[in-house]
Symmetry: D2
Subunit: 187 residues, 4 copies
């Protein structure tokens, strides 16, 4: 994984997800070099940059202009311009126009999570994977229920990370916000 | 428990421990109205104030002058001056002079944890309780090993708390640093 | 707190909640000796027994006959028969008939959580407290949303506990299921 | 990552580490197709099988005969015989004889962790990585201190995972034992 400090960040845009969360999402996404990945609510571009290390193509969406700007900077910093298409706009409308894809990553959903999952699963190729990362109690349940309603079997993993800070008097464990990763495979 | 915001705090003094940690330490300390409690490394006075709600007497120590000042303010704010004796000084020397006590709380130990446990267990009355709260990897192991060497059977509880922040778009879970509570009962 | 092993348990009835969870719920419930406590979905009687150590009266409900039997055994074992009224039946119907009370503990809700909260808040005295313990993603959100709809400000605390198992080669940390405690105070 | 259920397991041999832990260890190990990986205390072969998906060669050690047998079965099941050398014996003696390698994974250490780290770092190539997974309070501290004594800067990550169990009444969060991953890069 790319170290956290290798990403350009902005105070007004969330992310990127920490290294350990990016790592787990990438493991579960099982991206291959033939895959097209869609990154919804790309934020600072953490998943975009990681996906582009492996995928054939990454399409990254955000409706927040500042997020598009930061993601653009990280795309350039990590030299993946050739692989990434960056689109500012509403996820629901954009996804509707896309060709079928292999992996859908949903980091941010601006309150439209059920609809994004619905349209995303429809556009996902057979055996395609969807991964939702959630920091809100409510989106976890929305994700699980929407996926179940679509006849899929979601995997739910809550990840709590603490990192050691090396100090003279010892190793202080610093907690992070717990993140829940909900994922499913299209049948 | 006393809400976190009811404690006077200082940037230069650690603590007080969060409400949930104070609650668990108080449960495990099983303080009664006959008990004398010693609070070593009292910091901002969180355990001192909680203990004084129940105990007959609390003796609170810190070698840091600022900690003594903040604890003093919290003692006054919570109106427990009658019950608390506040001593600025080195824990090892002070404990040696004390009468036997019922409960020993160790929040801060400035690198002397094994010796504080040794002398503390010696001064603890039969069936007295010792509780060590630890944020460092190293002090957890020191506490467990010192208690085992003294023939005691330590209980080790790691507590990870996340609290919900109510926002318009949902309930964001905010992580805290994990705390380990090591405790034992003198035979 | 009462040690876990001091409760009679049954394979077919959930609970009692572990010592640390009982401790946190009791701290947040702030029960006094004047209080009437209602324990909904009392399961094995963990919260019933703890509450009865302090409260004036505890009314414990479960619609599962086996739960009533185990709770009854734990009431006798802990010698709190005088304080506890045990009722087998549907929580919604029973609560409707009760006099106003000070604390409502909801451990089990059999799918009726929003309605139990609604009727419970209605019957709760002013400054009364409600506490819901949840092991399901869905009930956490139901609890938060129902309390918010009632104009209350829920506190959400997720608790993850690991306990050390002392072995010859060291202290193995054994994880527990995370529990979420949602609570609110009636205005 | 390979799903947990794709590993042959034995009641008498620990492991394999769960999917999420294997994923994080693999991310941090940054194995390339040129790398030689040494897996000390290979247990059921979880890290061996994952490493062999990418590395040039994996050398797996365990002093427990049953562990060697289970790992051997998993090597065959995952068809990586060509890449893996499996050695039953004492890690310290075996590592001493090995050519320099790129990655050292330490899952089990039978009480010799400081010595394994010492000899492992000596044999590790420049920019090589060492990763220790620990379930014991004590080995975490041993790993950190040994690495610091060697002038390295250990990263310490404690990982607590809960997985959702889909049930009719909702998604129950099931806790796992927390695992600590300590890692360092040889200068």
């Amino acid at each position: 994984m790319i170290p956290d400090e290798e990403f350009i960040q902005s105070d007004s845009v969330p992310g990127p997800s920490k290294e350990e969360i990016r790592c787990l999402v990438m493991c579960k996404a099982m991206i291959t070099s033939d895959d097209i990945v869609v990154d919804v609510g790309c934020g600072s571009g953490g998943f975009t940059v990681e996906s582009a290390q492996i995928a054939k193509k990454v399409i990254s969406l955000d409706k927040n202009h500042e997020a598009i700007e930061i993601t653009s900077k990280n795309i350039q910093k990590h030299n993946i311009q050739d692989k990434v298409q960056l689109i500012e706009g509403d996820a629901l409308k954009v996804i509707e126009q896309l060709e079928p894809f292999d992996v859908l990553l949903v980091g941010g959903s601006s309150g439209d999570l059920p609809q994004i999952i619905d349209i995303g699963i429809w556009k996902l190729k057979k055996k395609g994977r969807i991964l939702i990362t959630s920091i809100l109690l409510e989106t976890r349940v929305e994700a699980v229920q929407t996926l179940k309603n679509l006849g899929l079997y979601p995997e739910v993993v809550e990840v709590t990370i603490a990192k050691g800070k090396l100090m003279e008097r010892g190793t202080m464990m610093m907690g992070r916000n717990p993140i829940t990763i909900i994922s499913a495979v299209k049948k």
